[in-house]
């Protein structure tokens, strides 16, 4: 049990989905990070 799972169990919301949810959150975060970083670099030069 890692820290994230332990935290979810502490709040009583650990279920079968909670394990996959972290992978899903990672997938959703990647485009946000890529687009935000690129936009910041582009707008910084304006």
């Amino acid at each position: 049990v890692d820290f994230a799972e332990a935290l979810l169990r502490l709040f009583g919301i650990a279920n079968q989905w909670s394990v996959r949810a972290r992978g899903f959150a990672f997938l959703l975060s990647l485009p946000l990070i890529v687009v935000s970083v690129a936009d910041w670099r582009i707008r910084r030069r304006r």
Partner: protein, 297 residues
């Protein structure tokens, strides 16, 4: 849709540069984030309805736009609403999403055609990046950053689609519910729960519909016996219009239908036609002449 949502956010940003990009991207992925959060609380079955059904997308979009307007005090709440709402038509292309509940899901299911999905999302990304670059990337370095961003997003989409190649489910696009089912009202009127309604009641409600009885027939096995060689062929669904015997090539068959579920009409017909096969029983309605004919050599 995966990176397609980010592409939509870039296009919206180009249309209204005053809106910050991060909330726009979050809004474009809003139903997915909502699905993730609701899934922790309610399990995955419920969360898709709470996040991706049409009413949920509308409520989620209005909530996000309202929250943005209240907290950020900035222009562009309607673009967040638009980004959230566009999530559903985008997902319609790649998956099957609920209209209202999980029983009514529609979509082109292109995640099960990963190559087409990659081409579609790649094309959308290129177009949206071009729109974004036209507004924001004036010099070469800025354009390079746009190209790098597009390449990174394309790479992520490629990895996702490559992973989807091993999905075991077949491609199953759904635009409407394919199977005719009796209206719940009819079922409650004329039959016990869980069973099909009577044909007469169904026709009373659907006078002008041939489909009412055409697709609600009793299920069973149809046996075709070749008249030439006696070879049997079995069909559990529709019998093809042209059947050829595997053994002799004949196309003439005798057909028998055996219901696999209780069917009052067939049971009644079988009882009426049944003949005793017990030893010593006399054959009913068999005359002396019939027996003589059978014994004719």
């Amino acid at each position: 849709v995966y990176v397609g949502h980010a592409a939509i956010a870039l296009a919206l940003k180009a249309h209204e540069p005053r809106v910050p990009l991060a909330p726009l991207v979050l809004a474009c992925y809003g139903p997915d984030w909502a699905e993730l959060v609701f899934g922790l609380a309610y399990g995955r079955g419920t969360m898709q309805v709470l996040a991706h059904s049409l009413p949920a997308v509308l409520v989620g979009g209005l909530s996000a736009a309202g929250l943005f307007a209240l907290v950020a005090h900035r222009h562009g709440a309607r673009y967040l609403l638009l980004g959230w709402l566009l999530h559903w038509p985008a997902d319609f292309l790649t998956a099957r999403k609920p209209l209202i509940d999980l029983d009514h899901r529609v979509g082109l299911d292109l995640y099960h055609r990963p190559a087409i999905d990659f081409l579609l999302e790649g094309a959308l990304l290129v177009v949206c990046c071009a729109i974004y670059a036209r507004v924001f990337a004036r010099d070469t370095v800025q354009r390079r950053w746009v190209v790098a961003m597009a390449a990174a997003l394309l790479g992520m989409q490629a990895v996702l689609d490559y992973g989807l190649r091993s999905e075991p489910q077949p491609w199953n696009p759904v635009l409407v519910h394919g199977l005719w089912r009796p209206h719940p009202k009819i079922v409650s009127i004329c039959s016990v729960p869980g069973s099909d309604p009577h044909g007469s009641c169904t026709l009373a409600q659907y006078r002008h519909s041939e489909r009412a009885m055409a697709t609600n027939r009793p299920r069973g096995v149809t046996t075709l016996i070749c008249l030439s060689c006696g070879k049997e062929k079995f069909f559990t669904q529709e019998v093809p219009a042209a059947v050829v015997c595997d053994q002799c090539g004949s196309t003439v068959f005798r057909t028998f239908t055996t219901p696999t579920e209780p069917d009052e009409a067939v049971i009644d017909a079988l009882e009426a036609q049944a003949r005793s096969i017990a030893y010593g029983d006399s054959s009913p309605a068999t005359t002396v002449d019939d027996v003589r004919d059978l014994d004719a050599r």
